[in-house]
């Protein structure tokens, strides 16, 4: 019904009238195509190789740690016969009832008794077969069962590092030989090392535990979370939803993006100068560690939060504004709830990074030897990665496997956190 527009074709007058389509079937063309497909396959293989290499490296790392560390979770015990009746221990069984028990036990020479018993049972080198903290086990046994005091009893006490290593096939020849003899006599046993999960730092590798550092990490993370999460989310909301575009908000934006990439050690210097130097907060405290790490984590949360908020479709905001919600109501009723999963994943990833952070904490004194788990935010504490760093520097060879075991604990913690983040991401991804 509409007449076509007039066509003018003078521009092409010089071209040949007959069209010669490209001949795709010549040999040269076919060869070229084969070459292109070969290049395609090579490129694709290269990509696959990159993935496999990266994943392989991760697997290798994890397997190495696992192989070294799993031994740290087992310990070797020696069955030590102790003749309490004739030990010369001066403890009144009666004094072991009630609150005075600890004091009464502290006064008794369990150390001497234990080494005497060892010498009696295993010969002159008997005492060296036992862990330095073996007598503590004996003391515990007596505390639990005061009736032992009048009898002869066999108590399972931790073996010394040398014997423990020999039991795990890594000892020196003399220890190996000694261990063979003990094993032949049925006097040694191996088992899961519960002490490792319950105790705190120690100078004796057979007595160390990870719980102190773990608790320190928990407390530190709690402070970090409580400070960084609200501040991070609030700044993200402000910057994404309300901030006018001007030089000031640009400045804020640049600072935040920059802070997210500032080397962590600089935060350590900040903590040292400001929290310890200016505000005189206590050294080595989980609170200061948390504060420092919060400053480090906050930008990560802001960035994740902004991305999550940005991905809430604007139509939701329009809808709420359209029925007369105020900007604050729009954000708190609609945007934040919808962005929360994204914010949470970002938070968990930021927290995971904070959990593995070592360098800034070294600066603020969280590298101390602390033999009891911290009992508060201002109590001296250390954290898992610093504990790993400290143990890797210990004299005794028994600490090597403990270091790897601590690494496993840390990795499990982290993988759990990452897993949670992935779960959240998958669960809440794109619901509209």
């Amino acid at each position: 019904m509409n007449s076509p527009l007039v066509a003018g074709s003078q521009a092409e007058g010089h071209e040949p009238a007959a069209r010669r389509p490209t001949d795709w079937n010549t040999g040269a063309m076919q060869a070229r195509i084969r070459k292109r497909y070969a290049a395609e396959r090579r490129f694709r293989l290269l990509g696959l190789a990159a993935i496999l290499l990266s994943a392989g490296f991760l697997a290798f790392l994890l397997l190495t740690m696992l192989a070294n560390g799993l031994r740290g979770f087992t310990s070797t015990d020696i069955a030590l016969p102790v003749d309490f009746a004739n030990s010369g221990l001066v403890v009144e069984p009666a004094s072991l009832e009630g609150p005075g028990a600890d004091l009464a036990l502290a006064g008794a020479d369990f150390q001497g008794t234990t080494s005497a018993a060892a010498t009696a049972a295993f010969g002159a080198d008997g005492a060296t077969l036992l862990s330095d903290s073996a007598w503590l086990t004996v003391r515990e046994a007596v505390r639990d069962d005061p009736s032992l005091l009048g009898k002869r009893a066999v108590i399972e006490v931790p073996a010394s590092t040398a014997i423990d290593m020999a039991a795990k096939g890594d000892g020196d020849p003399t220890a190996e030989a000694r261990y063979q003899r003990l094993e032949a006599a049925g006097q040694v046993s191996s088992g899961f090392n519960l002490r490792f999960l319950q105790g705190a730092d120690s100078t004796d590798p057979t007595a160390v535990g990870i719980w102190g550092a773990f608790k320190g990490s928990l407390l530190t993370m709690l402070v970090t979370l409580v400070l960084a999460f609200p501040i991070g989310v609030f700044s993200a909301v402000y910057l994404e939803e309300y901030a006018p575009r001007n030089r000031w908000t640009d400045l804020i934006e640049v600072s935040i993006n920059n802070l997210a990439a500032v080397p962590s050690i600089i935060f350590g210097l900040l903590g040292l100068a400001v929290f310890l130097g200016t505000f005189h907060l206590p050294r080595s405290a989980a609170f200061v560690g948390g504060l420092t790490l919060a400053l480090m984590t906050m930008p990560v949360i802001v960035i994740a939060g902004r991305n999550a908020i940005k991905s809430v479709p604007p139509s939701i905001r329009d809808a709420a504004l359209g029925v007369g919600a105020s900007p604050v109501q729009v954000v708190f009723h609609h945007v934040l709830p919808l962005a929360l999963p994204g914010i949470l994943t970002g938070t968990i990833i930021g927290m995971a990074r904070a959990l593995g952070e070592t360098a800034p904490l070294l600066m603020i004194g969280m590298r101390a030897f602390i033999a009891t788990p911290p009992d508060g935010f201002t109590a001296p504490a250390t954290v898992l990665p610093v504990q790993i760093y400290l143990w890797s520097d210990e004299v005794s060879r028994g600490f090597v496997e403990k270091t790897s075991a601590a690494i496993i604990v840390l990795l499990v913690f982290l993988l759990a956190m990452n897993g949670l983040a992935i779960y959240l991401r998958n669960k809440f991804e794109t619901r509209w």
Binding site: S54, F234, V254, P263, I265, I266, V386, Y389
Partner: protein, 464 residues
């Protein structure tokens, strides 16, 4: 009354104010949003308005009060006759005063110093007095604030607007923390750095090629010649973080991203991506341990087997390799994002021309995504040059200016840790050098980030 109890009292007053105001506002006639006599805001907002008026001024006052009173109390105590015996000035006097206060408040079980014991009763009396005044004033303020706000409640009173204004202020305040942190970092680095530069000239520091902070730890110490040319550190940092690590991370990260976005099945991608991300989540101390004990010896053996007899077991290569692996996810996820952000129209355009996947990726997608990839690489570099523990544990401390990857080099961050955790005096040039190094590091990452942001931003605008 203890300060916690006072705090709860004030908060309790706030709660009462909230309830009272809400009830009163709810009693106003309800007429829908139009018409003259309509209530402007929901009762809840009136409640919040009054509660905030009751609580905030009182809390503000308490804050100021607790900051001011110690000075007043000290002044009052110093005026007592017991204080006459105190040493005139200096640390000891301060120490005694602090101790006396702690005794008075029961924080200390026993006295370090008998003079403190003597001052304690005076402290006790003054503290009691000021606490009473503070309590009364706080309560009065809470009542006055609440009452003032309560009288303002009217149907057309815009309580919601006021409350929301406060919420906005809080949000703005939160975002200012970032600036405060930046200022804090600069301040804490700048001051010490300036002191450092009074020992060592900036040009010597920035352009000297000899790093050997063997200055005297103490005045009488032997071996006190020192050289603070930071070029070997900068070089080491760049060599490990920006060259070796990037030689690992860029190809692996980029190719992984390409494979995952363009070739991998959605299921593979769903699994592989988080797995790769784990690489960035492994704590650096673990990498450090791994690098030092597993990778470094292997690298050394490799060096020896190819005839480099000087191969050190603390090689730049070992640290750089491990660091490169660590930052693969940074490169790959940024590359992933920016390749995905190339409009699919580009991809379709290329496929429609008869291009194969690899041609499309290499000739169209990558060039278009390049700015984003470059931005990601910049961020990865800034992460790498800030990395500490891997280098501390695996790369050694020798400030060599060498391009031999089997030799040992050191980095800025490692030296910061060493300088600050060694046996040093806090105002020796050696310690202060750590802050100067920190400052340089901060400035460099700042510049890298600004460049990265610029690049990413420019690229974003190109498609919108």
């Amino acid at each position: 009354m203890s300060s916690t109890a006072l705090l709860f009292l004030v908060l309790g007053l706030g709660l009462m104010a909230w309830i009272a105001a809400r009830t009163r506002a709810a009693a106003f006639a309800d007429g829908g949003p139009r018409g003259g006599a309509t209530r402007h805001s929901l009762p809840m907002y009136h409640g919040w308005y009054v509660a905030l008026w009751a609580v905030l001024p009182a809390l503000l006052f308490l804050g100021v009060w607790s900051a001011v009173t110690p000075g007043l109390i000290n002044g009052a105590v110093l005026a007592t006759p017991e204080a006459a015996a105190l040493p005139a000035f200096g640390m000891e006097r301060t120490a005694i005063l602090v101790e006396a206060r702690q005794l008075a408040t029961g924080q200390l079980p026993g006295a370090f110093n008998p003079q403190a014991q003597a001052l304690a009763p005076a402290f006790e009396a003054e503290i009691g007095k000021y606490r009473l005044i503070g309590t009364v004033l706080a309560l009065v303020l809470a009542f006055a604030g609440g009452a003032y706000a309560f009288t303002r409640i009217r149907p057309d009173f815009r309580a919601r607007t006021r409350v929301e204004r406060l919420v906005m202020a809080v949000l703005l305040g939160a975002s200012l923390i970032a600036i405060l942190t930046t200022i804090g970092i600069v301040a804490s680095l700048l001051f010490e750095s300036i002191r450092f530069f009074s020992f060592v000239s900036p040009s010597e520091f920035l352009f000297g090629t000899q790093w050997s902070p063997q200055t005297a730890i103490r005045a009488d110490q032997v071996g006190s010649s020192g050289a603070f040319g930071a070029i070997p550190l900068f070089w080491g940092t760049i060599f490990i973080g920006a060259i070796i690590a990037m030689l690992v991370a860029i190809p692996l990260g980029l190719m992984s991203a390409i494979y995952l976005t363009q070739y991998a099945a959605p299921n593979v991608r769903k699994w592989m991506k988080p797995i790769l991300e784990v690489l960035a989540g492994v704590p650096t101390v673990v990498y450090g341990y791994f690098a030092a004990l597993t990778v470094a010896p292997a690298v050394r053996d490799l060096g020896v087997s190819i005839g480099i007899s000087s191969a050190s077991s603390e090689s730049a290569l070992a640290a750089g390799l491990v660091m490169g692996v660590m930052i693969i996810p940074f490169v790959s996820s940024m590359a992933d994002d920016s390749i995905a952000a190339v409009p699919s129209a580009m991809r379709d355009g290329s496929y429609a021309m008869g291009a194969t996947s690899s041609e499309t990726i290499r000739k169209v997608l990558l060039p278009a995504a390049l700015p984003g990839v470059v931005g990601g690489v910049m961020l990865a570099v800034s992460r790498a040059i800030g990395e500490t523990m891997i280098v501390v544990m695996a790369a050694g401390l020798a400030a060599n200016l060498t391009a031999n990857p089997f030799a040992s080099v050191t980095t800025v961050t490692t030296q910061i840790v060493q300088l600050l955790t060694g046996d040093q005096e806090f105002d020796s040039a050696k310690t202060l050098a750590a802050f100067a190094l920190g400052l340089v590091l901060f400035i460099v990452t700042l510049l890298l980030n600004i460049v990265a942001l610029r690049v990413v931003k420019k690229y974003r605008e190109a498609y919108e």
